[in-house]
């Protein structure tokens, strides 16, 4: 439609039945069937009918074939019912001979008058209605027009005057047109007050209370993003940030298709956010006034009538924008293929790349993006053809009179985008309700129906936010480049919230480290068996000297091999000496030795004592040493250090979990030391071994009831200069890798226990593998992190029906299979 309101022709008011033409053809004559003729009377008739409001007067018509009345406000008569008053006047030819004059009001699209009034001769001769008209008439005069008021819904209207008996040919009818039009629509935030109690549909009971709070917080954040007049800015971008602290607590949950899987990422995400966050939107409707300007709300809102308002959404063409995002080429290819899925099936906005319902998104599915907002609409229904859109009717009375609202509910999927438009779709003329209910891009609606009153929001983009606490063992630990990690995950729609608590968290760690150490050593539990077997080698204190100038980058200090071995030796000598034997010469020698040596430590006198023993006695001591060394796991230096390092890792894990409890917030905790253990040497110095470094994730933190997840990394930021070294990767990459595990991503193909089908088969550089040069998340990981369901028994070609009750299709590691079929 080129203009609003649309053009007018008499065809808009044409009758579909024979009645009108049959009545018009009966002519005017006396009772001739009785052979009786009337005295010839002077004919009369109506020559004009007009309406006037302020300085505007309508045009009177007499020719059913008159030229089309052009669209647009320029030459049209419109007014704001109730708000403004109209004078209805007509002119008669030979008024003294008038008999009756019938006024009839027609709505657009119907040949049956909706209101009629028959005036007797005296009233007709007055040539005007004796009362000013505000768009309403007494209820008894209306026929099948419940509003009893002219409204936008059925505009334009035709007011016709018909002369009764003895009207002269050509002076029987005159008519004029009027419009009730919407001046403008403005779109506002509805705010959290319009949210119903409780969480959105589909949210698991575990999350419902928090999700409801988070949903309100989202709305609080959004309502700050408005223009000076409080309306929404179509050029704005709104991040709908969903708090998503869901972490792997069961190893098989990283492997979506595994028979042991319980709650993979997409299901966990669904449990927390269900059908998506709800965002109330309110459109204010203004009725154009004849005097200029417009009126909103109050009694004048009744003039909106049953006008339908179309709520529509569109999304960005993400494929077209991929090239601008700095993605790895493989990722771009994978996403280009996969986002193309069923883009033009007619069940979603044409070209939309939002997550399809077959991958648990909303595009193309039955889950509505527009829910009814009861306080802000009298009714709402999905469109019949433009199935992703909905139409609603406005509130006409009360606090919200003149408004129509909707509960916008975007999907929970990361990086899905929505721009919401609301169109008025009055029934009358071109561009009516049916015209908008078509499958076409939003841009085509604007092109074809641009003059219709409408308003548009900015672009909403869903993001998933994860709280991550990064805690270094002490200030001596080189800081990972957190921004690099955040940037990579943001590309996949995940916002890493590092917060501003790192220093406080490190203080908490420093304060409680020794206490936690003592508790863990005392009761390691079955999750720390190496602490049970090797905990005795750890030094009880001085594990952390934060703030004392003696910061350490390792997690714990344990006795080095030489120190540990010597202790065994001393204990063995003591055992030999203390043995109950007849005439214990060794004991006597030992006692004499004590009287001549002032050393306080066993090793300072027992080892020399041992050196002075005879070969035979030494052999006996050696036997004891061997036995004790085996019992203590000190068979070899390598096994000792391996076990101690394992114990240190388990200790760190336990400390990290206690830290998690101390922080007491849903989120992920990364505890960073550059090494799990430092070895105390005989001279008192501490040596950090070059091996045994890396990352470990996730912890078995499911026992913390979803409070969070922890992992530890033992690496310096500056990697080994030897690229072939096992741990030459900077800690930043390792943290990104371990965070991936915490976020349900399994190893990529060249790493142990990988899930080849859950990564891009063509991308060998996913950071979830062990390739030291990997630097990005693969495309498959991207879509998993967005919250896509990626596993189904069938693909889109062979899909035959619901799968596991979810109806999803497989996301192939070969992205060419994910293309639009």
């Amino acid at each position: 439609m080129a203009e609003y309101p649309g053009p007018i022709t008499t065809a808009l008011f044409a009758s579909s039945g024979p009645l009108s033409s049959a009545l018009s053809s009966v002519g005017s004559s006396g009772p001739t069937r009785k052979g009786v003729s009337e005295c010839p009377l002077t004919k009369w008739g109506v020559t004009e009918i007009t309406m006037t409001c302020g300085s505007k007067t309508s045009t009177s018509y007499d020719d059913p074939d008159h030229a089309e009345v052009p669209g647009g406000r320029g030459g049209r008569f419109f007014f704001a019912p109730i708000e403004e008053k109209v004078e209805i006047k007509w002119k008669l030819h030979n008024p003294d001979n008038a008999t009756t004059l019938t006024l009839a009001l027609y709505r657009s699209g119907s040949g049956a008058p909706i209101w009629t009034r028959t005036l007797d001769a005296e009233a007709a001769k007055a040539e005007k209605l004796d009362e000013e008209w505000d768009g309403s008439f007494p209820g008894s005069e209306w026929a099948s027009f419940p509003s009893h008021l002219v409204t936008v819904e059925h505009s334009p209207y035709m007011l016709k005057a018909t002369a009764g008996d003895n009207a002269a040919e050509g002076l029987v009818e005159r008519w004029t047109y009027l419009d009730v039009i919407i001046d403008k629509i403005e779109l506002f935030w509805g705010g959290k007050a319009l949210l119903p109690v409780g969480a959105p549909n589909g949210v698991d009971g575990l999350y419902s209370a928090q999700t409801a709070l988070d949903e309100r917080a989202i709305n609080d954040e959004l309502v700050t993003k408005k223009r000076g007049d409080d309306t929404l800015d179509p050029a704005a971008t709104y991040d709908v940030v969903l708090r998503c602290n869901q972490f792997t607590s069961y190893v098989y949950d990283m492997d979506d298709g595994h028979s042991m899987v319980r709650n993979p990422l997409w299901k966990s995400h669904r449990k927390q956010w269900g059908d998506g966050p709800r965002i109330p939107l309110v459109a204010k409707i203004h009725i154009a006034k004849a005097a200029g300007g417009a009126v909103h709300g109050g009694d004048a809102a009744k003039a909106i009538g049953g006008t339908k308002f179309l709520w529509d959404w569109e999304s960005k063409d993400e494929i077209a924008a991929l090239g601008t995002l700095g993605l790895n080429g493989s990722v771009e290819t994978f996403l280009t293929d996969s986002l193309d899925y069923l883009r033009n099936a007619g069940t979603g906005p044409p070209g939309s790349t939002n997550c399809h319902t077959d991958h648990a998104g909303k595009r193309g599915g039955a889950d509505a993006v527009f829910l009814r907002l009861n306080a802000l609409s009298t009714e709402q229904a999905a469109c019949g053809t433009r199935v992703w859109a909905a139409h609603a009717k406005a509130i006409l009375t009360g606090t919200h009179a003149g408004c129509v609202g909707v509960m916008f509910q975007p999907s929970r999927m990361g990086l899905d985008t929505y721009a919401v438009s609301v169109y008025a779709q009055p029934d009358g003329g071109a561009g009516g309700a049916a015209a908008l209910d078509v499958v076409s891009p939003a841009s085509d609606l604007v092109r074809d129906y641009g003059p219709l009153p409408r308003a548009k929001s900015g672009t909403f983009q869903t993001l998933r936010k994860v709280r991550v606490r990064y805690v270094r063992k002490s200030n001596a630990v080189q800081t990972a480049v957190l921004a690099t990690i955040a940037t990579e995950y943001r590309k996949a729609g995940v916002v890493i919230d590092w917060g501003a608590t790192q220093a406080a968290d490190e203080r908490t760690l420093a304060t409680d480290y020794h206490t936690w150490f003592g508790q863990i050593i005392a009761a390691p539990g079955n999750r720390a068996p190496k602490v049970t077997s090797h905990g005795t080698w750890f030094e009880a204190t001085d594990q952390l000297q934060a703030g004392t100038g003696g910061d350490v980058s390792y997690a714990f200090v344990a006795a080095g091999w030489d120190l540990a071995s010597r202790k065994v030796k001393v204990d063995s000598i003591r055992e030999y000496v203390q043995k109950d034997r007849v005439f214990n010469g060794t004991k006597k020698a030992y006692d004499r030795w004590l009287t001549t040596h002032a050393a306080t430590d066993d090793h300072q006198y027992l080892l020399p004592f041992y050196d002075g023993l005879s070969t035979k006695k030494k052999a006996k001591v050696d036997t004891i040493i061997t036995r004790r060394m085996a019992a203590a796991g000190l068979s070899t230096k390598a096994t000792y250090e391996s076990d101690v390092e394992g114990a240190a890792v388990q200790l760190t894990q336990q400390v990290a979990e206690k830290l998690l409890l101390a922080i007491n917030e849903h989120g992920m905790v990364i505890l960073h030391s550059e090494a799990p253990v430092g070895y105390r040497q005989i001279d008192g110095s501490v040596v950090v071994p070059p091996s045994g470094q890396g990352g470990i994730s996730p912890s078995g933190s499911s026992q913390w009831n979803g409070r969070g997840s922890v992992h530890m990394v033992f690496l310096p930021q500056t990697p080994s200069t030897n690229p072939a070294a096992k741990y030459s990767t900077p800690v930043t990459a390792v943290i990104a890798h371990e965070m991936g595990h915490n976020l349900f991503l399994n190893h990529a193909p060249d790493a142990p226990s990988s899930s080849k089908s859950l990564h891009d088969a063509a991308d060998k550089k996913c950071i979830l593998n062990y390739d030291q040069t990997s630097d990005h998340l693969c495309g498959y990981c991207h879509l998993k992190l967005r919250g896509w369901a990626t596993v189904g028994a069938n693909d889109h070609v062979t899909k035959t029906g619901p799968i596991d009750g979810d109806g999803h299709v497989k996301l192939w590691s070969d992205s060419t299979k994910n293309k639009n079929p």
């Binding site: 009545l23 052979g35 028959t118 008996d165």
Partner: protein, 145 residues
């Protein structure tokens, strides 16, 4: 010759020096009535062809005579009033004036106003309620366009 209605209610020919009784007038007017009935049947044929075909000429004549009787019973004398009334018979039913489903019709006819006013009102209301029409016999509305 045509006659005009005298103030007394009797009929007289223009410039006539004598008056005649109503029964005499009916006899004299028979050819005019027949001519009107023919006109009315043609009106039905033109605007309600399907119903005309279904009823046949005899049936339509019967309907026309019925309409004339009912219109006159309501004080509608003028030919165009009777034809309009006949039109409503073919849109809303043979006894639309007594149909409880069409209260607007009986109210308009019984308003106590002049025949011209009542007919204008009836026409206006009929147009407003035309979607309620079910045809002469109340069956299929084959002439509803």
């Amino acid at each position: 010759m045509t006659f005009v209605e005298a103030p007394s209610g009797r009929l007289r020919a223009p410039d006539a020096m004598w008056t005649i009784r109503r029964e005499q007038m009916r006899i004299l007017a028979a050819p005019f009535l027949e001519k009107f009935v023919h006109r009315a049947v043609e009106h039905v044929r033109a605007h309600f062809p399907a119903q005309h075909a279904a009823l046949g000429d005899a049936g339509v004549r019967d309907a026309v005579v019925h309409a004339i009787e009912r219109a006159e019973a309501h004080g509608l004398e003028r030919d165009e009033h009777v034809l309009a009334y006949l039109t409503l018979v073919f849109v809303f039913g043979r006894d639309f004036d007594r149909d409880p489903a069409l209260p607007w019709a009986s109210e308009a006819l019984a308003s106590g106003k002049s025949a011209a006013f009542r007919m204008s009102r009836l026409r206006a209301l009929a147009l407003a309620h035309q979607d309620a029409g079910r045809g002469y016999a109340g069956g299929e509305a084959t002439d509803r366009g």
